[in-house]
Every structure is written in structure tokens, then in C-alpha cells.
């Protein structure tokens, strides 16, 4: 791997991989809201496995009911109001256009050998290994 190819790979993917690494670090700080596992009762069709989702569902149902009761009266039949369809944002159109033009997979996919830089030994913990090696 030449020095120029190494520099080009770093320039091409470095910011993204650095960003993903930072996202991964932040992700590892997250912890699951405590799930108290309760073994489902054998033979009992009504399994109360976890307490908090049931409570959350009850709250959500109460909120939805309140919203329904407080909502303005809807039209009937053919006179029912049609929900406005939001115009897509210009940036969304640009992205969609780009993704439609550019195939999701490259026209000629690189061979497995050419993707050596995506192997575990290169991407994972290897302090002296960089894209210039291998």
C-alpha cells in the first residue's frame, strides 16, 4: 500500500470512521432502564413479565384518550378534512435524488481482497496498524 493510497483512504473515510467511533463511545455510556425479569408463569396465559411497560402503556392509553376527547370534531364522509401532506424539504429531495442516481451498491463491487482494510485486524485494536499496512 503506497503512502498516497494510505493518505487517500484516510482522507476519504477518516472523518466518517472517526465519527462512528465517537458515536460508539457515547453509545457505551447508555444503560438500559432496569428490566426486572420475571419468569412467565408456566401454564398461565396471562404473563405479567415486566411491570413498567404495562404502566407505560396505561399512561399512553390515557393520554391518547384525552387527546381524542379534546380533539376538534372531524368531518364526516366525503366532507372529512384531508390531512395536509407536508412538502418534502429541499435537503431531503437532494438526498433522495442522490441516492436514486447512485446505486446503493457500486456498479462493480470491490473484491474481497480489495476490501482488506475492512478486516478485523485493521479496524480493531491494533495500535501500530493503520491503513498503510497490509
Amino acid at each position: 500500500m503506497s503512502e498516497m493510497e494510505d493518505r487517500e483512504l484516510k482522507q476519504r473515510y477518516g472523518p466518517i470512521l472517526n465519527g462512528l467511533e465517537a458515536m460508539g463511545k457515547d453509545l457505551r455510556r447508555r444503560t438500559c432502564p432496569g428490566i426486572a425479569w420475571q419468569t412467565p408463569q408456566r401454564g398461565n396465559r396471562h404473563w405479567a413479565v415486566l411491570a413498567w411497560p404495562a404502566a407505560a402503556a396505561a399512561v399512553a392509553a390515557a393520554v391518547l384518550a384525552a387527546m381524542f376527547l379534546l380533539a376538534p370534531p372531524a368531518g364526516h364522509g366525503d366532507n372529512a378534512p384531508v390531512a395536509a401532506i407536508a412538502e418534502p424539504h429541499e435537503d431531503d429531495l437532494l438526498v433522495m435524488e442522490m441516492l436514486v442516481r447512485e446505486p446503493a451498491q457500486p456498479a462493480t463491487s470491490p473484491s474481497n481482497d480489495e476490501l482488506w482494510w475492512l478486516d478485523d485486524a485493521v479496524l480493531n485494536d491494533a495500535p501500530t496498524t493503520n491503513l498503510g499496512e497490509g
Partner: protein
């Protein structure tokens, strides 16, 4: 919170498959953070990620009779979780950078010599905000998104990623490559320069 390595978790699953329900409860405690993060990394919000975690454990518990002793329980759980996530997305068809609610992005500077990106100008790294990258990830086709999540956010090996996604290692690498190319295109400004 209990913390067990992979061998410890596999031992717990072996016992659970033999009828030890307490062991399964211990496994759920040990593995819930990883599964929760897995769901968050796929763009789910906190409550939805917790629901996916719960559903994953339920399915694992129901399927414990089919467990092969000595197998890798982490990979098995991730394999269940990815199917739950796929079903969730199919039901909800969400778009946008939801779920990965990053409070504050970790410093992007490299702390190990020789790592990729060390020579990239700092203003380029700083400009690639977590929010924008998370949004860009959501625009990827599902398989490419999964490959990036497994390889770079969950730090699974190629083989583990292939097992979770149910495909060959070469397919994973091709999906990762295509994802990186698409991310570059999505993130780059119309002028062609990095933001």
C-alpha cells in the same frame, strides 16, 4: 449491575436451557445493556429500544429449548434482536435521526498512534456532528445500516456481524464499503467538499 464475560453468559444460558429459570434472569440482567444499545444504535428511541430488549429476552426464553450448549449466547441474542428491530422498522417505517439521542459527542481525536484519520484536519472532524452522522445513517438501506451498526457501533467482528445478519463475511464487507461510500455522498456538501 452484574457484568459477565461471554463465557459466563454462555454458562448461564446453558443452565437456563436445562430448566434453571433463575439463570435466565441473571443472563437478562447481564445482557440487557448490550441489547438496549444495539436497539438504540439502530435508530430506536429509548422506550422503543427497551421494548425491543424486552421482546428479545421473551423470544430467547421461549426458544431456550432449541439452545445448543456452548454456543455464543451474545451472538444468538443479537441475532434475535436484529429480527425484532427489523420487524419494528417494518411496522413503523421511521425516517430521520431518531433514537440515538447523543447528549454530547465524545472527542473525535485519536488516542492511539497509527489509527485512521489521525492526519485529517481537525476542522473536518469537528464539522461532522454526531447529529448529522446519525441522520445520514438513517438514510442508508437497511442492510448497510445494520452492517455499520454491528461493525462500528457495536464493535462486532466480521464473523459475528455475518452471523447476526445471516450472511457471509464477504457480504458484510461489501455492505460496509457501500455504506461508507453512501455516507460520504450523503454528508458531503453539494460543492463536493466535506462540511
Amino acid at each position: 449491575m452484574m457484568s459477565l464475560d461471554r463465557t459466563g453468559r454462555t454458562d448461564l444460558m446453558d443452565r437456563a436451557a436445562s430448566g434453571d429459570d433463575t439463570a435466565f434472569g441473571q443472563l437478562a440482567l447481564a445482557a440487557q445493556d448490550d441489547l438496549y444499545r444495539f436497539a438504540l444504535a439502530h435508530g430506536l428511541k429509548g422506550a422503543d429500544a427497551a421494548e425491543v430488549t424486552q421482546e428479545t429476552f421473551l423470544r430467547a426464553f421461549r426458544g431456550r429449548d432449541a439452545w445448543r450448549k456452548g454456543s455464543d449466547v451474545s451472538g444468538w441474542l443479537y441475532g434475535i434482536a436484529i429480527n425484532v428491530v427489523r420487524e419494528f422498522h417494518r411496522r413503523n417505517r421511521r425516517r430521520g435521526a431518531e433514537g440515538l439521542e447523543l447528549d454530547e459527542m465524545a472527542p473525535a481525536d485519536c488516542d492511539r498512534p497509527g489509527r485512521i484519520g489521525q492526519d485529517v484536519p481537525s476542522e473536518v472532524d469537528a464539522a461532522l456532528t454526531a447529529q448529522r452522522l446519525a441522520w445520514a445513517l438513517e438514510q442508508l438501506p437497511p442492510r448497510q445500516h445494520e452492517a455499520v451498526v454491528c461493525r462500528f457501533l457495536m464493535c462486532l467482528s466480521l464473523q459475528e456481524t455475518a452471523d447476526v445478519m445471516g450472511c457471509a463475511e464477504g457480504t458484510v464487507k461489501a455492505a460496509v464499503f457501500a455504506a461508507l461510500e453512501n455516507l460520504r455522498k450523503i454528508i458531503k456538501t453539494p460543492s463536493g467538499a466535506w462540511p
